[in-house]
Each structure stands twice: as structure tokens, then as C-alpha cells.
Symmetry: C2
Subunit: 240 residues, 2 copies
Amino acid sequence: MPNPTAAMLVIGDEILSGRTRDSNMYFLAGELNKLGVDLKEVRVVSDEADAIVAAVTDLSNGYDHVFTSGGIGPTHDDITADCIARAFGAAIDVRADAHAILEEHYAKTGAELNEARLRMARIPDGATLIDNPVSRAPGFTLNNVHVMAGVPAVFQAMVATVLATLAGGQPLLSQTLRVDRGEGEIAAILSALAEKYSDLSIGCYPFQINGAFGANVVVRGTEGARLDAAMTELARDLGL
Amino acid sequence: MPNPTAAMLVIGDEILSGRTRDSNMYFLAGELNKLGVDLKEVRVVSDEADAIVAAVTDLSNGYDHVFTSGGIGPTHDDITADCIARAFGAAIDVRADAHAILEEHYAKTGAELNEARLRMARIPDGATLIDNPVSRAPGFTLNNVHVMAGVPAVFQAMVATVLATLAGGQPLLSQTLRVDRGEGEIAAILSALAEKYSDLSIGCYPFQINGAFGANVVVRGTEGARLDAAMTELARDLGL
């Protein structure tokens, strides 16, 4: 059975303006890889309703799972929840279960659950809440879209919750061989290997250190024995 | 006149698998922002021809400029140039001008210009070469798509070349105010400010340091006097 597929949608002007360096993509990519879910596409869009709705619709139709990051806070530019509702034609309002979570949280902290903060309890009808152990305001899953916060600590906690509930495919194994030659020198060997081991994914990632060229060859697949065989053959062909 | 718009397409399994943390997006976002070009969308796709062709077509139709990163090296998984050609229905083969650049380079270094390396001289008909001062193998511009290497040092050098040729709009100015309160406390004030200064973009980016909540409020626009006015009003409304 092929692995489930996934896409990520990062929502935020702060990434596109170069002000903030995204870290959620890198984190999610690593976690999905460990679980055996294939991350096939990432999109970053601005805080504009039409752009968010169009991207969610596209990605939700194209992949088994969609993970979103950002735009679910209390300020006027946090419009993700409303956009997800619009994408699926779902009604959205302050929901009792989310309201109760915020009420309990703000009662404890002594801060006011004002109108702005109440925005964080806007959850589309039919969505399941995603627990937020860090700052309480929940994310949610609607159909195959998992809507999470952009703040990295919260995003990571929510990802852990969601991934625990997913039935992933087989974890993808990888082996890496560092070769101290330019990739042009080894390209023919890699090409032949990729043809022979068509069930594996073979990538070549060049680097340059102190003026010398090298490359990391990464072989990925679900069966350890196949990876072992490919790596043994690769080392032999490279005369290592 | 509105600013020109741009999109970026990152090509590479190594990003989607979580193996490599992309840095080109962050770099390009910052450079475009300085130049007054609005980066509106980023997509990351895998080394699959159909995915690359579909994304290039979409983005090329949707924005004034498209910047791609990755997949123009000598190995079998470097298929970007051929995909760009396919997206525009252009013929592609080893081109004399690119061939000459590689020939001169490898003659100097004493390495062999073998079949794999010759792949890097595959340039679509009608494309303009982008100089690569780092490792010589050129990028290219075809229509509104700028095709560049994924290796960060090379990518950055190519971006500098391309941006020097673009007629950008007005540079986007920004001012930031750090506020040591949770964003829920200041959301109403920001919302009112955003409504009054509808020509500016006002973003709120929360942080948490040592358990205390705060937020950076970033105001962006093209006219310094408007930014000054908005920031003065904001500070007054916050009682700072």
C-alpha cells in the first residue's frame, strides 16, 4: 500500500515579507517522514482570504492530509478559521466547547476573555478540536485539514496530537553516503543505480567545504534490506 | 502603481523529506521586500516532472515574476530545465553559449566536461542565461520565470544578478513596535488602526519570553510619513 500523502499550507505575511524565517515546515517535514507520510507539497500564502480559501481547496482535493500553520490568534489578521469554514461551506461561530476551554484558562490566569480573545473560539461546525497544551486556544480538524497555530512551540505540540491519531504507512528509512567528489563525477553511477533500484528514491545533495566539492547521496525506501543492497553496490561502484 | 508581484517555486525532495532546511525562501523574501516586489506565494514541490510543470504554469500565469530554486545540477534527478521548457512548449538541448561557459570552466579546472556535466548546458530556446559567478553553470530566464540553483551561495549570486535587471516598484518601508502585552490585550487597538490606515499593512507577531507574552507590531507601507503617523497614534493608544 502506498504511503498516505500530505501537503502543508503556511499562512502568514511575516514569512513572505522575509521578516520571519519559517521553522514549522522543516519540523513537520521531519515528523511526517518518520511516520511514513509523504509530504508532497508546501504552499506559503499571505493573510488574504481568497488566497487561503483557494489553496486549502486545492490541497484538500489533492492530498490525503493538509496541515496548516498560522492565522488562528486573536487579532484582525487571524482569518484562517473563517477561511477553512468558507472552503468547505461550513458555518462558523464561537463554539461552546472551545469557549469553555478559553473561559477556564483565562479564569485561572486572571486575564480578561475579551472580544478579541473570543475570536479564538470560532470553530467551524463539524470540526474536531486539537488540544493546545501550551496556550490552550485550540486548533481543529475539519475533513482532511488540520488547522494549527503558527507559534512554533504551539504548532509542534498540535502536530504531536494530530500525528498520534493518524494511521501512517510504513516509515521511510534512509541511508546517507558522503562522497568527496563533485556530483558531476558520480552522476552516471547514481543514474544507473536509480534505474536498477526503481523502488528506492536516490537523491544527490552537493556541498562545498573549503573549496572542495562533495555530495551526500541519500537512498530512501521502506525495506531495510533493499537499502543495504543499494548502498553496498554504490560503495563498490565508487571504489570505496 | 501597485508593486510588481512574485512567486517562488522551490524544487526538491530534500526539503519535503525534512532532510534539508530551506534557506533560499527566507533570503529571496528579504531581497524582494527591499526592492519593493511583493512575494505573494511560495510553493515547494518534489522532483517530479508533472508537479514541477503544473506549479510553474500556475505561478507564471498568476504573478509578474516567478523565481525557482533547485534541480539544475548534473544528476538524473535534476529535471527543472526540461520541465520549464515543457511548461512553455519550448525546445531544449545543450546550447552553444552555455556549453562554451562550461568548456572554459572545466578547461581551467582540469576536470572532465562529461555527459553528466553537459546536462547543465541544457537551456530552453529563447531563454536568457543568468550568470553564475560561483560555479559557472548558468541559470536562465524564460518569459517571466527565473530558474536558479538550489545551493544557497549560487542561488544568492543569481538572485543578485536577476534583481539588478528588474524594475521594482517602491521599496516597502517598515516600522516595528515591541509591546510587552499579550496580543489579546492590544487586538482591538490594532484593528481600529488597520481600519483607519487602510493603505498600510499592520501585522501582529506574538512571542513568549521567560513565560511573559509580548508582540511585535509591524507596520508596512511605501510612504514614510504615513508610517510615522500610524506609529505615533499606536504608541498614544497603547499609553506608551
